[in-house]
């Protein structure tokens, strides 16, 4: 009995000691683990602000003198916005006045802005020159030189590669996307093709629409939401370089004859000094300075030139072409 008592007294003491050691170890380990667990990631402090502490929004103070430069949405804001803003900045530096870029929702809006004096100058489609609003209140100032073609550009009929379309005639009963009612390559050119065959878009195509930007038309064709579209070749090349995968899903069915490239126009009532300053500033973009080169690169231009007699003659021919189309009733649906 005495031996058992001794053992009974010894065993729990040893066991208790072991349990105590385990608890002690756990206790020592706990703060470390808890510290690890408490790392919540709230590293950066919060700055106190108040939504109740308000003040009126300061009124926009228009600059004393600014040149407002409009641009027809030949390229969408997403595709052409960067080049357009670069152009505005470069001109601003050369004119020493702010140049405000204004992108139209469609081609006619810029014409209207020019006509009503809301912009001093604008980059418009050649087709916009058919609009009396523009021809009466505005005039061609300069002509951007396009890469490889100078003051000439072309229209393209582009279809989806998977659609199986090979020639323009295949577009019968297919959906077709125009660019803008004042677009030369995106509207007048395909209408002329239909007109030659005595057809009207409403009866030839299954459905038609206006994208108001060449790059949007190309995206629609590449994405399959339109079977074909009429676009500017210069835009197509820019778009093809930017989105080769999308471009690979398109096929060019037809290329137009030479068209005079889109001009830079100014209001006729613009003071001569301002007109001249703007002209010089635009021409200076091709002088080789870095910001000028960046603008030309972004816009797909190689330079800017005076509108020579040949260019103006071709513009005049184009006007007659519009008139013919109109007279033949080809501009009606």
């Amino acid at each position: 009995m005495s031996v058992r008592r001794a053992a009974a007294g010894r065993v729990p003491a040893r066991t208790g000691g072991r349990a105590g050691t385990a608890i002690l170890r756990a206790g020592l380990l706990a703060p470390f683990l808890l510290a690890l667990a408490s790392c919540s990631g709230d590293a950066a402090p919060y700055e106190g602000v108040s939504f109740r502490e308000k003040a009126p929004v300061p009124k926009e103070t228009a600059p004393a003198k600014a040149v407002r430069l409009g641009m027809a949405p030949i390229l969408s804001a997403r595709a052409g916005g960067e080049g357009f803003t670069l152009l505005a900045e470069a001109l601003s530096r050369r004119l020493s006045v702010p140049v405000v870029p204004l992108l139209g929702t469609d081609y006619r809006e810029i014409n209207a802005m020019l006509a009503f004096g809301q912009v001093e100058a604008g980059i418009v489609c050649t087709g916009a020159l058919s609009d009396p609003q523009l021809t009466e209140r505005g005039e061609v100032l300069l002509v951007p030189l396009l890469r490889g073609t100078g003051t000439v550009y072309h229209g393209l009929i582009v279809a989806g590669k998977e659609s199986g379309l090979r020639k323009f005639e295949d577009l019968r009963s297919r959906s077709f996307l125009f660019t803008d009612p004042l677009s030369l390559t995106g509207y007048f050119y395909p209408l002329s093709l239909l007109c030659e065959q005595g057809k009207r878009p409403g009866s030839f195509f299954s459905s038609v629409g206006f994208s108001h930007s060449h790059d949007r038309s190309l995206e629609a064709v590449a994405g399959g939401s339109a079977d074909a579209a009429a676009v500017d070749e210069t835009v197509y090349e820019l778009w093809r370089r930017a989105f080769p995968d999308s471009a690979a899903r398109t096929r060019v069915l037809l290329r137009s004859a030479d068209f005079p490239s889109p001009p830079i126009v100014v209001r006729k009532d613009l003071p001569p000094a301002e007109r001249e300053a703007l002209r010089k500033a635009l021409l200076d973009l091709g002088s080789g300075r870095a910001d000028g080169r960046a603008v030309l690169e972004a816009m797909g231009w190689t330079g800017i030139a005076e509108a020579d007699a040949d260019y103006l003659r071709r513009v005049e021919e184009l006007r007659r072409f519009y008139r013919n189309l109109h007279e033949q009733g080809c501009l009606s649906p």
């Binding site: 058992r4 009974a8 729990p12 003491a13 066991t15 208790g16 349990a19 385990a22 608890i23 756990a26 380990l29 706990a30 683990l33 808890l34 690890l36 667990a37 408490s38 790392c39 919540s40 990631g41 709230d42 950066a44 402090p45 919060y46 700055e47 106190g48 602000v49 108040s50 939504f51 109740r52 502490e53 308000k54 003040a55 009126p56 929004v57 300061p58 926009e60 641009m71 969408s76 804001a77 997403r78 916005g81 960067e82 357009f84 803003t85 670069l86 900045e89 405000v100 870029p101 204004l102 992108l103 139209g104 929702t105």
Partner: protein, 470 residues
């Protein structure tokens, strides 16, 4: 009852509680941390994506100076994403162009984002939000700020944390129930095991043990049961050995007392023979016969008494406890031992006749007394002195103290005095079984035997007997 100082049930529950609290806390903390990080990264990615989206979608409106369109754009975003607190557009010079406020704008939104690490973190009371900034066309067209409330994601974190805490609590409840069940199961059979070990008697059956269990408790129970069986077997062997020791000791003591007895018997027997020879030579002498006969009868009775004692002692028998008179038993032992006492050794007794009878086997008691008296006689073989025997009643016990004035024992010898076969006597005079056998018999009869001795001063043997009534 042998109770556990730190019961298994308590230990398991404590360890479970510790484990659940410790690891539950760590898990909840880690989960919260990871979830916060993950959701914050997601929120930051979402917020920056929304700011970039606004910067992208705002381009046409800014290029057209369509501030109404810009406001509508921000409102549309807020409708689609309720966690968006504000969308504000700024021109390249930092002036506000448009936003999701009417006329008044919070002061901290009057200017574009001040820069620094993105997103910036703001707090307005309990509302915390992140401020993201997007550059429109690389800043050439201005910038946009989008504020994203953290409330939805904090709500998700809180919900996740609550769910996890609930799981921890449920785990604790379920774990406690399971642990309590296991602990109780183990505790119950551990108790059975403890009680069985405590109740175990060498001369009884093996108590019920949980030997049918298939776990460690069962293994321990089976080992204990086997150990008990072995102990019982050893005990039986031990008892047999003791019995043999007792027989050996009895026979040895018979041999030891034989010479004394021979002398004791020889004297009356010689007197008897002489008387008989004289009577034989003169068979008709009636007077002589009457004169010799009482002496002859006394001598014969003496011889018969001595031999009866010897026979009673030598007769082999099992324990048969009886009420025995200690004075009478001592008298018989004295009769057998006295012949061995050296001249000059005086045996004095003070054992009252009226002592209560003790509970003992008479033969065994005689053997015990004989062993101790023989030891005392041997201890005083070479010196004169006294051997005293005193008995007194002490409650339900009777104490007999037997003291000699012999050689005595040193401490080392005294400590080993009850070891079998240990003897200081010359060969032929002792077996070394007297004391251990006597001790065993005293304990078997509920008594005890204690020795006290000092070298040269003699030895005192104290015997404790149970009275018959006790």
């Amino acid at each position: 009852m042998n109770r556990a100082a730190f019961p298994l049930r308590t230990r398991i529950l404590l360890l479970l509680l510790l484990g659940v609290v410790l690891f539950g806390t760590i898990n909840v903390g880690l989960f919260r941390s990871l979830m916060l990080r993950g959701l914050r990264a997601s929120l930051e990615a979402q917020g920056q994506a929304l700011a970039d989206l606004m910067a992208e979608e705002g381009i046409p409106y800014l290029l057209r100076r369509d501030f109404g369109g810009l406001s509508a754009l921000g409102d549309a975003l807020r409708q689609r994403h309720p966690e968006v607190l504000y969308v504000v557009f700024y021109d390249p010079q930092g002036a506000v162009e448009a936003g999701t406020f009417s006329t008044d704008l919070p002061v901290f939104l009057q200017r574009p984002s001040p820069g620094g690490p993105a997103p910036r973190r703001y707090r307005d009371g309990s509302l915390s939000f992140l401020d993201f900034s997007g550059q429109v066309l690389g800043g050439r067209l201005g910038s946009v700020r989008v504020g994203l409330s953290e409330a939805p994601y904090r709500k998700r974190v809180a919900l996740g944390q609550w769910v996890l805490l609930s799981m921890v609590f449920l785990f604790f409840i379920a774990g406690s129930a399971g642990a309590a069940f296991i602990a109780q199961d183990v505790h119950r059979d551990a108790l059975v095991l403890t009680q069985a070990v405590e109740a175990f008697r060498l001369d009884g059956p093996v108590p019920p043990l949980p030997v049918g269990r298939r776990d460690e408790i069962g293994a321990v129970a089976r080992a204990v049961a086997e150990m008990m069986e072995r102990l019982r077997k050893l005990h039986r062997e031990h008892l047999g050995l003791l019995e043999r020791f007792r027989e050996v000791d009895r026979m040895a003591s018979v041999g030891l007392v034989a010479s004394g007895l021979a002398h004791d018997i020889n004297n009356p027997l010689s007197g008897l023979l002489v008387s008989l020879e004289r009577l034989a030579r003169d068979p008709g002498n009636r007077e002589k016969a009457q004169a010799y006969l009482p002496t002859m009868m006394e001598a014969a009775r003496h011889i018969r008494e001595v031999l009866q004692n010897l026979l009673a002692y030598v007769r082999r028998q099992r324990y048969a406890e009886e009420p025995v008179s200690l004075a009478e038993a001592f008298g018989k032992a004295r009769l057998l031992v006295e012949p061995r006492l050296q001249p000059g050794v005086l045996l004095e007794t003070d054992i009252p006749e009226d002592l209560p009878p003790v509970r003992f086997d008479p033969s065994c008691l005689l053997q015990v007394l004989l062993n101790l008296l023989l030891n005392a006689a041997d201890a005083m073989e070479s010196k004169s002195g006294r051997i005293t025997a005193e008995a007194r009643r002490e409650g339900d016990r009777v104490r007999l103290v037997l003291t000699d004035e012999g050689e005595g024992m040193d401490e080392e010898l005294l400590a080993r005095a009850f070891e079998p076969f240990l003897t200081t006597k010359p060969p032929g005079k002792g077996t070394g079984l007297g004391l251990p056998t006597s001790l065993r018999m005293m304990k078997d009869h509920g008594g005890d035997l204690l020795l006290r001795s000092r070298p040269g001063e003699g030895t005192t043997a104290t015997l404790l007997f149970r009275t018959w009534e006790a």
